[in-house]
Structures are given as structure tokens and as C-alpha cells.
């Protein structure tokens, strides 16, 4: 019976967390929760309209799952709790594994006598008339040719290879801990946002210039405030190897007026600068609309960013016309990409814009405009001009300092798995005894691999065959 003095909370906690059964239970629970997470629509995975449609169609389910946090399963308390427990469990197990690996490393440097060798599962006995010194030198040579490192003590040999393979399992677990920490570190200091740039426009890397922005608690609004310019946009970019790359944007990054970096962003070709990564995102067209007073002076003007939600090639936008209280809707399409205009100068490629203007909900204008058209609108005798059109593009900007650490962790985890399963510690023990009545030399040889023991027999048999072959060929 435990007395009060025997009770140690530290030991209890330690033995609880280092349980391998606990690891299996936790991993199984994470699997179960992940499966649930793939079944229940996740807010972060779906477009808002799709998620809202599900919510409307299944109000009770949505309410329950929302309440439980299951619609954000992978950031829910349940999931994070399970991952935290697994982290603790892995930490405790790793400590034990390291201790055990170090112990193994020391313990294995032993010589064994013939009785101990005879207790091994994989063993053999060879009898020869050769002198023991000659025998030992041949065994040495065979074992070395198989990659073993040898130690000698009298007539005993201890040979081993892949000695440091014992660190494979602890390294694997350290890598898991490392990846979890890198992920947490990365997401806490992460910044991601969408920056919309019209061709030729330059914006500063700052909180207010993002259309949407998520900042981790450790990002501390630490914006670098360099300038980003969309110098040129290519809807169908073809690179120097004639490979079509889809939409691409040429970005110029400058600081204090100095150009620091110029590169083209397209799928699988990111631009990185000061730990920020720029990815191409959606794009569209931006016609320049200029509102003019009756005397021809400019009242206001701006590029209206129109997008193509159904990928039909028709770009639509609704907009307010400065402080007039008027609202407008437009649809613009190109008979050919904008790049075509510049290259061929063909007027047939002029953009066409359909526009409606509303005054307090009442339609006051419905017309078609071509580039450089000016029309009079039935409001205060004002004019509206369509004088330019450009591409705009959203750039997804990410800063995640944990990414390279996660990659390093993944690389190390691959290395550790290779060590665990393909750098298997193997040992061979030999004792050469001159104990035959006729002066024969007896060789007692045994071996052991830490894993795949039955497959190791093949290598062991090969060693024995080689030794026998050497001994039969040698002349005294």
C-alpha cells in the first residue's frame, strides 16, 4: 500500500504522460476528430456563400456544430487540446527514448564469451585447423568488408555497424515536437492579407493598404512599409521557356525610392522580400471613369475594379459616383487581351463597357461606351468619360517565419525515418577458442540486428560463408 510519503505527483504525471498507450489513444482521437472535421463543413475551407447555404439548409446542425466549435474543427479547443496532450506525451517519451538510446550506445560495447554467444538466436560455430591469430585476422577482414567497426580483446571480437542508428527513434520524436513548435511559432507571428493593385499603382506595405488582413498575436503590426508596385500584368503569361504560366504580375519593390527587387509573380513562382511572400491571386479589369462638370472641368475620376466571378470574360462592378449620391453598375469585356492592343494596335480589340446609372434607385442612364467615349448623363448636365482601362490584381501577401522551420522539420523527419528503418544497428560477437583435442580452433560467432532480425539472417549467413571461404583458401 502506498504511504503518503511514497505519493509523488511528479512521478504520477510523468508516468501518465510517458505512456505509449496514451500516444496510441491520443493519435486515434486526433484521427477521429480529423475525420469529423472533414465531414462537417469548415468555415475556413469553404467560400462564405457555400458555407452560408449549408447553414441555411441545416440550421439545427449548424447551431450545434458552431456551439461545439466543430465548424472550425482544426482550431477548436478539442483539437488543440488533443494536440497539446500529444505534444506533452511525445516530450516525455522522447526524454525516455534519448536516455534509453544513450544507454544502448554504452551497453553494446561489450565482448561476449562463447556461452553468451551460444545464447544468441543468430549464431554459428566454425571449426578450423588454422592458427587463432590467422583466424582472427580473416574474421576481421570479412567483418570490415561488411561495414563493421571492430574492437579486439584477446581472442574476442566485438563488431558493430550503424551504431548511431539508435538515435533514429528519438530524433523522429524530436522532429515531431520541432514541427509542432515551428507551426505554433509561425502561426502566432503570421501575417496574411490581400493587396489590390491596379497596373502602375504602388502601395506601401502597411496595415491599412490590405483589403483583408489577418495578423497573429505576435506580429505586433510590425509592417515593413516598403513600396510594392504592379508594374505590368499579364493575363496569359508565357515564360522564357515558352511555357504558359497563366496570370502573372510584374512587381517592383522599392524602399526609400530605391528599387530593391523586380520579379514576375505567377503560379509556382513566388516573389519573396524580407520574409514576405507575394502570390498572384484573382485579377480583373479597371476602367477609368471620369465625371466632368458641364464646362469640361473634372469633377472626379477613378479606376473602378471590375471582377469576373463566373469566369465568363465579362467583368462587372457596382460603384458610387464620388459624392453625387449616384450609383452605377458596369460590365466591361475585351474582344482580346489588353496585351493584344499594345502589340497589334488593332482597334477591334477595344474594350466595350455597358453601364447603368441610378439616382436613388431610379435608373437615369443605360448606355454603351467604348474607350475614349464621353457621354452626357441626365444629372446636373454632367459628362462621363471612359478614358482608360487597366488590369488590376490582388496579391496574397504572407509572412510566416515558421515555414522554413517546418520544412527543416519535415526534412529531418524523413532523415530520422530513414535512420530508424534503414540504418539498423547490427552487432557481431566472436570468440576464437583453441579447445579442440586435436588442436582445432573453434570459432563461436553470433550476431544481432535491432530490427528485421529474420532478414538479418541473410547477412549473417553471408558473413559466415565468407569466413569459411577465406579459411579454406588460406595457406598457413
Amino acid at each position: 500500500m502506498d504511504t503518503i510519503s511514497d505519493f509523488s505527483p511528479g512521478k504520477k504525471i510523468s508516468s501518465f504522460f510517458q505512456s505509449r498507450k496514451l500516444a496510441v489513444i491520443l493519435i486515434s482521437s486526433i484521427i477521429l476528430v480529423s475525420i469529423i472535421g472533414t465531414h462537417i463543413p469548415q468555415k475556413s475551407q469553404l467560400k462564405p456563400e457555400v458555407y452560408n447555404a449549408w447553414k441555411t439548409n441545416h440550421p439545427t446542425q449548424a447551431e450545434i456544430f458552431d456551439f461545439l466549435g466543430f465548424t472550425n474543427m482544426f482550431s477548436s479547443a478539442v483539437f488543440i487540446g488533443l494536440c497539446s496532450l500529444l505534444f506533452l506525451n511525445t516530450s516525455f517519451c522522447t526524454r525516455n527514448m534519448l536516455v534509453s538510446a544513450l544507454r544502448k550506445l554504452k551497453r553494446n560495447q561489450q565482448f561476449q564469451n562463447k556461452d553468451q554467444i551460444n545464447g544468441l538466436e543468430t549464431r554459428s560455430e566454425i571449426s578450423t585447423a588454422k592458427e587463432d591469430k590467422i583466424v582472427i585476422s580473416h574474421i576481421d577482414s570479412v567483418l570490415q568488408s561488411h561495414g563493421y567497426r571492430l574492437s579486439l580483446e584477446g581472442n574476442k571480437i566485438f563488431a558493430e555497424k550503424n551504431r548511431y542508428g539508435v538515435f533514429g527513434v528519438p530524433l523522429f520524436h524530436i522532429c515531431i515536437l520541432f514541427i509542432i513548435l515551428a507551426t505554433v511559432y509561425g502561426s502566432l507571428g503570421r501575417m496574411e492579407g490581400d493587396m489590390r493593385l491596379i497596373e502602375g499603382q504602388s502601395l506601401q506595405e502597411d496595415h491599412g493598404n490590405y483589403m483583408f488582413i489577418n495578423e497573429g498575436p505576435l506580429f505586433y503590426e510590425n509592417h515593413q512599409k516598403f513600396d510594392i508596385k504592379l508594374d505590368k500584368f499579364y493575363p496569359d503569361y508565357i515564360d522564357s521557356t515558352d511555357t504558359p504560366r497563366g496570370a502573372a504580375g510584374k512587381l517592383i519593390i522599392s524602399e526609400n525610392g530605391n528599387e530593391m527587387k523586380t520579379d514576375i509573380v505567377y503560379s509556382n513562382n513566388l516573389v519573396t522580400y524580407r520574409d514576405y511572400t507575394f502570390l498572384g491571386n484573382v485579377y480583373g479589369m479597371a476602367p477609368l471613369l471620369v465625371l466632368m462638370n458641364p464646362d469640361g472641368t473634372i469633377y472626379s475620376g477613378s479606376y473602378i475594379t471590375a471582377s469576373d466571378p463566373d469566369s465568363s470574360g465579362r467583368y462587372v462592378a457596382s460603384f458610387d459616383m464620388a459624392d453625387t449620391g449616384l450609383e452605377g453598375g458596369l460590365m466591361v469585356y475585351m474582344t482580346a487581351p489588353l496585351t493584344g492592343i499594345e502589340e497589334s494596335g488593332n482597334t477591334k480589340q477595344t474594350p466595350i463597357m455597358f453601364m447603368k446609372i441610378f439616382d436613388q434607385g431610379e435608373e437615369i442612364y443605360d448606355g454603351t461606351l467604348r474607350l475614349n467615349d464621353t457621354v452626357k448623363i441626365p444629372w446636373n448636365n454632367m459628362y462621363l468619360g471612359f478614358y482608360d482601362i487597366k488590369y488590376w490584381s490582388n496579391f496574397y501577401v504572407v509572412k510566416d517565419n515558421g515555414t522554413l522551420l517546418v520544412y527543416a522539420g519535415l526534412g529531418l523527419i524523413t532523415l530520422s525515418l530513414t535512420i530508424i528503418f534503414f540504418v539498423i544497428p547490427k552487432r557481431v560477437w566472436v570468440e576464437v577458442v583453441k579447445d579442440g583435442a586435436d588442436g582445432a580452433t573453434e570459432i563461436y560467432i553470433g550476431g544481432r540486428a535491432d530490427k528485421f532480425r529474420s532478414l538479418y539472417n541473410e547477412e549473417f549467413s553471408d558473413i559466415i560463408d565468407k569466413i569459411k571461404e577465406r579459411l579454406s583458401n588460406v595457406t598457413d
Binding site: 484521427i31 474543427m73 496574411e192 503560379s267 530490427k451 532478414l455
Partner: protein, 283 residues
């Protein structure tokens, strides 16, 4: 050229079917000596299959990783290649082809139900990381499939040994020609270990590719989540084998469970869930 590659593909499918029948015949009627025909059919089928893939590759200008027709064909190809290499090294497990070849034939057969139309490689898929990602996915599947083949052989031989001990069956040379139970146990273990290693590289390459394409290395997309689930399941399998003393029949059944999870994560997820990965495949 498209007709030639298709004819070769059909011929390869037929040879895989023939090989499957021969393997099953050898197992059911305990005819180890006929196994050479099954192996040769598989080898000739593989050669034709390889030529068919190469011709299509030249024609479409990209590797076989866009349409389901290409994807399933590629899985079959890798499975047969891995199996033929393994059975060349471990001759005694040749008969495991009775699992690998019918599954490869099934993959080929199902692939024929999909459109063979040429699809242009989307810009997002033009990445060397994608190639590494899909190659290692195939290697992982092939390794686990071979592990399943050995597992089934283990279960069959173990059952026979028990029945011989109980006096229900006589000893048969067919079973003697199979590897020792301990060897099969180690082989299962080593193929699952290889599978886990390949799956890890697949996930790593996929993470780098996702970061280049979508700006994040992990997004809990259903395919990503299921690949992690498969990784965990293989991890549990090895954990039980290494630490909990699960060997032999128990681990053999667990390996069969592993391939179900892995196959679902590789093929099934697209049918059940929608997501970034599945959008590419079904496009």
C-alpha cells in the same frame, strides 16, 4: 499516336488480368511451378503499359497526373514495378502477386471508365514539387500494397500451420515454399516502414508545393487531412509493431486496414469531399 497508346494500354490491362488469373490459380490449386507464367505476363504487361504511358506523355506534354485515367494508370504502374522488383529480390513471395496484380488490373479497368481526353496542365500544377509529390504517393501506395500481399500470405500460411498442428490438414510443399513466418513478419514491417517514409516525403513535397501555389503549407483541405490520417495510421501500425509486441497475424490484419485508409485518402476523398486537390482531378 493516341490509338497506339490506347491499344497498348488495353493489351497491358489484358495481360494484368491474365497474370491475376494465373496467380489466383497458383494459390488456389497450390501450383507453385506455374507461377513463372504469371510473372512473365505481368512483366510483358508492364512493358506495354510503360510504352503506353510514354506515348501519352509525349502526346499530352505532361506526366500522368491530371485526369483520373492517368492517375489510376500511374498507381497501377508503380504497384506492378515495385512488386516485380520485390519478388525478384525475395523469390519466395512471388505468389503475393495474387493481391497486387488483381488490384493493379482493377485500377487499370476503372481508369478505362474515365475520359481519355487530353487536359492541359493548369499553371498551378507546373511544379517539380508536384512531380515529387505524386511519385512518392505512388511509391507509398505500392509499398503498402506489397505489404498487404505479404500480410495475406502470412495469414494463409499461419492458418495452414495451425490446421496442420490440429491435424485438420496435411503439410503441403506449397506452404514450405513460402517464406518462414518470421521472415514474412519482418517483410511486412519493412514494407510498411518504406510506405511511411514515402508518405512522409509525399506530404513534405506537397506542403512545399502548396505553399508555392496557395501561400500556406497546410490548410486542412480534406485530401491533406486524410493524408495525415493515413500517415498516423501507418505510424500507429509501426508503433504497435515496435513497442506493443504486435506481430504476426494481428499486425497483418492491421496492415490490411492501413491500405483501406490509404486507398481512401488517395482515391476516395475526391468522391466524398470537395476541395482544392479534388478540383484539379475532376476538372
Amino acid at each position: 499516336m493516341s490509338q497506339i497508346d490506347y491499344i497498348m494500354y488495353l493489351a497491358a490491362t489484358t495481360l494484368y488480368a491474365l497474370s491475376s488469373i494465373l496467380y489466383i490459380y497458383c494459390l488456389v490449386f497450390r501450383k507453385n511451378e506455374k507461377i513463372g507464367f504469371a510473372v512473365n505476363s505481368a512483366i510483358i504487361g508492364l512493358l506495354l503499359h510503360s510504352v503506353s504511358i510514354a506515348l501519352r506523355w509525349i502526346e499530352v506534354g505532361h506526366g500522368p497526373y491530371i485526369s483520373m485515367y492517368e492517375v489510376l494508370s500511374k498507381y497501377a504502374w508503380f504497384s506492378v514495378v515495385i512488386f516485380l522488383l520485390v519478388q525478384h529480390k525475395y523469390e519466395k513471395i512471388k505468389i503475393a502477386g495474387f493481391i497486387i496484380m488483381p488490384i493493379s488490373f482493377l485500377l487499370m479497368g476503372v481508369s478505362l471508365t474515365y475520359s481519355r481526353d487530353i487536359q492541359i496542365l493548369p499553371a498551378a500544377l507546373r511544379s517539380y514539387w508536384l512531380i515529387a509529390h505524386v511519385v512518392f504517393a505512388n511509391l507509398a501506395f505500392g509499398s503498402i500494397l506489397v505489404a498487404v500481399g505479404v500480410s495475406v500470405l502470412y495469414i494463409v500460411k499461419e492458418r495452414h500451420s495451425r490446421r496442420v498442428e490440429a491435424g485438420f490438414e496435411n503439410e503441403e510443399s506449397f506452404y514450405d515454399r513460402l517464406p518462414d513466418l518470421k521472415v514474412m513478419d519482418d517483410l511486412m514491417y519493412s514494407f510498411v516502414a518504406s510506405g511511411l517514409l514515402f508518405l512522409t516525403i509525399m506530404i513534405g513535397a506537397g506542403a512545399i508545393w502548396a505553399n508555392q501555389t496557395w501561400g500556406r503549407y497546410w490548410g486542412w483541405d480534406p485530401t491533406e487531412t486524410w493524408s495525415l490520417i493515413a500517415w498516423f495510421v501507418l505510424g500507429i501500425c509501426l508503433h504497435l509493431r515496435m513497442n506493443a509486441g504486435w506481430t504476426g497475424k494481428r499486425i497483418a490484419w492491421f496492415i490490411i486496414f492501413c491500405i483501406i485508409v490509404l486507398a481512401f485518402s488517395l482515391f476516395g476523398v475526391g468522391y466524398v469531399y470537395s476541395g482544392l486537390h479534388t478540383d484539379y482531378l475532376t476538372s
